[in-house]
Symmetry: C4
Subunit: 263 residues, 4 copies
């Protein structure tokens, strides 16, 4: 058995997988622990653990790479690229305080390896990503609604409260706040003291976004139900003849019998 | 080839369409840019750009109008009317500070041309508009609920807090706020200090509106699912015989065979 | 034609119905107008209008009662009872300031006559009422959740903030507030300063109620979809034979043919 | 008739069941009453009632246990274990102030016996528990999202506001607050004053969690609808032949007729 075969068998090994998952969980706990105030000794221990985790991850990636039969296929998998990137960047020793932040972020993103290693989570994320393009037009419509209302808002309300309506970007943030109903009446009462009819602005905005959002949700539900239905139909399709085919067969029968009568 | 045919071909040209879309996006960016504080030079440049955009839009409408085979059909399309209106009003030079606001609004509404030019967005909006009448009775029921609660509210609570319950219009706005759960307990605790049982007023209102709203959502979902189902059935209808027709054919067969036996 | 037949024809008259609807709308407007501050003259005019409306309603009820063929059936209709009650109570002259409030409430409830007169709204309300019993057990479950959490809350938190957790009734109101996410963190942070683990109380409560609520919504959706499906199936049932019946017919054919071969 | 048979009949007796339910409701009312301030006499009366309730519950459990045909089956039922536990712990006399709290909690949990005694509520809770494992992966995904955002949040924002972002546990609580839209803009504006781009953090978090949550809801709806559909199909399955079987029968017919022609 070659090294490749050995490593291929190793990486599909259940215990090896569980070991990697537990290392990821452990690395997540280390990240969590770092957010608490701790003595110098513990911090040093964590730094050592950190390097140990990076080393284990490196080893695991190398095993998976060597275990791969078709080396060129390895980097066609988005998750393999993601894993390699995370590990490679972890290896770069960063001391500079500016870049140290990036180092910490990379260590946090290692938790995402959980998704790359558990197939069910990977599938779940895929299904989320697949659903996105179908929603593209609704998102576009919503963006247009936001943009127009933000333009109107910053045109009229900028002088009333520049913190909320200063420019179009800030106005869009304020509108998102209104959409989540977070203290939206405070925003409204403020502008109503200058423009008493500005409640129309807020009410119509809430109506349009709520309706577009509702449509989005319904669109997703209908899509999911249709896909489910399609899958069920697909599964049963091959062997089940349609009524049309049955009719065809009965007609052939009739022809046969008519012929038999004539003879 | 006549001018009309040339223009007709031009307006269905993919590049021409992309050009118009990019001009609309550019005009949206100009609108957004205006909300930021800028030097005199940039403002002048924007004013020039504004007129250029209006001119391009005018040209585009004229091309589409000349390209139209049946001139009388042109203004039967709501979107054509909308586009023409936006462009015509943009052409009127407004200097008066009062009307200048309207000029700015018109420029903002030009972003809506995005919907008139992209068929998918137009269809989306149409489907929203089609769904509205089906909801008319629920909206009417909700309005009655709001009106009665607002009348009761302004009768009892007007003296407690005239800002929130002063008259029936303000009370309806306050009730909408309660419906969005925005600081609704502050509103309630205030009236409960005078009428300790007024929580019944708020709880029943929340219950009724939530229930009516839920019904509305369900109504829309059921409608959409039914339409989908209808469409699928419609698509398959023509060629597929029903079981009844199959039965009919089998019975004809029986008659034939019985006849053949007798002979 | 007897008086009864005349009145029966009158009450199903479209114009008569529209007239009554417009009187109801007008009475709603009068109610709304009353919530604004007005001069003595206008108030007097409104008082006169009020009596006119009451008189028209009385006339209408009498017409509908005389028009009814089976007098005993009249009061079996909940809406007729409701209408009669509203009108009768409106007739009692109330001057006492205590009872005057009831008089005003009765006038407000006249707006509900809108529902009793428009069949679509009546049907809508009926469907809401029909859906209620199906939800009874979920509502019971939710009440139990609320009751237990309120009991625990008022046991532990009553001394921290008696306004929010003083007794079991106030605690349930506070929990409803937490369920609507209205400043729930303020409530939580207050108790967390005494019991640092009390976030478990809030999180588990939110989880249970959200889950029960979700279940309720799904239950309603599934019910509505099933009813729709049932109705479609019911409509098509009579003429369409099942596959089982077709099989039966084919088997009869086989028997016939076998017999014909033997002969 | 043996004692066991007598007790078995007793425990399925409708009146006995109603009696137990009313005792549970009464015990719930006693719990509620305790949260109000009362005179010494009433408190003593309640203490006596409490013991009476415990005694009745004990008697009921004993009756149900004796009435059970297969004694070993009795404790295989989770609800029987729950009931026995509640009653046994209620029997222990606790005077110590520390443990008295546990005694009060146990008395509150007696209200849960409502669920153990009413079959519909038991079924409802079972269906909730059955739905949970299907959601496990979405919950896991959501936990990962929360954990990563909490790690990032406490890394960057801990110095801005240690109360909200001090460590990873507090950060997760703050993120849950953001997810419920409870004063989330206050949290955001605070960090935006230091990191102006931190709105990306909040917006992306809201987007991811809302999307994951939406997926969860849809997953549950699809599951419930599929189960309903499955149940309907299961019910009709046995007697209804498929089109394939019909085709098979028609082909056998054809073979028969062809044979009859040849002869």
């Amino acid at each position: 058995m070659t090294l490749q075969q050995k490593f291929n068998r190793l990486r599909s090994n259940k215990i090896f997988e569980l070991f990697v998952i537990s290392i990821i969980i452990f690395s997540a706990l280390v990240i969590g622990a770092k957010t608490y105030h701790m003595s110098e000794t513990v911090l040093n221990a964590i730094a050592v653990l950190d390097w140990a985790i990076t080393f284990i991850f490196l080893t695991e990636i190398i095993i998976r790479f060597i275990g791969e039969e078709h080396k060129s296929q390895f980097f066609k998998n988005v998750w393999n690229i993601f894993d390699s990137l995370i590990v490679t960047v972890s290896l770069i020793p960063i001391e500079d305080s500016e870049l140290a932040i990036i180092g910490r972020l990379i260590r946090i993103f290692r938790v995402l390896r959980m998704i790359s290693i558990i197939p069910e989570l990977r599938m779940l994320l895929n299904s989320l990503i697949i659903a996105l393009p179908q929603l593209a037009y609704i998102v576009a419509l919503m963006f247009i609604i936001f943009y127009i209302y933000a333009a109107v808002g910053s045109t009229f309300f900028a002088e009333i409260n520049p913190v909320l309506w200063g420019d179009i970007a800030i106005s869009m943030l304020t509108l998102f706040r209104v959409m989540t109903f977070e203290d939206w009446t405070d925003v409204m009462y403020e502008t109503m003291s200058v423009y008493p009819l500005s409640w129309i602005f807020y009410m119509s905005f809430i109506f349009f976004t709520a309706f577009a959002f509702l449509n989005m949700v319904i669109g997703v539900v209908v899509n999911v139900l249709n896909e489910e239905h399609e899958r069920v139909v697909q599964k049963n399709k091959a062997p089940e003849p349609s009524n049309t085919e049955l009719q065809e067969e009965i007609r052939e029968l009739k022809a046969l019998i008519k012929k038999s009568i004539k003879t």
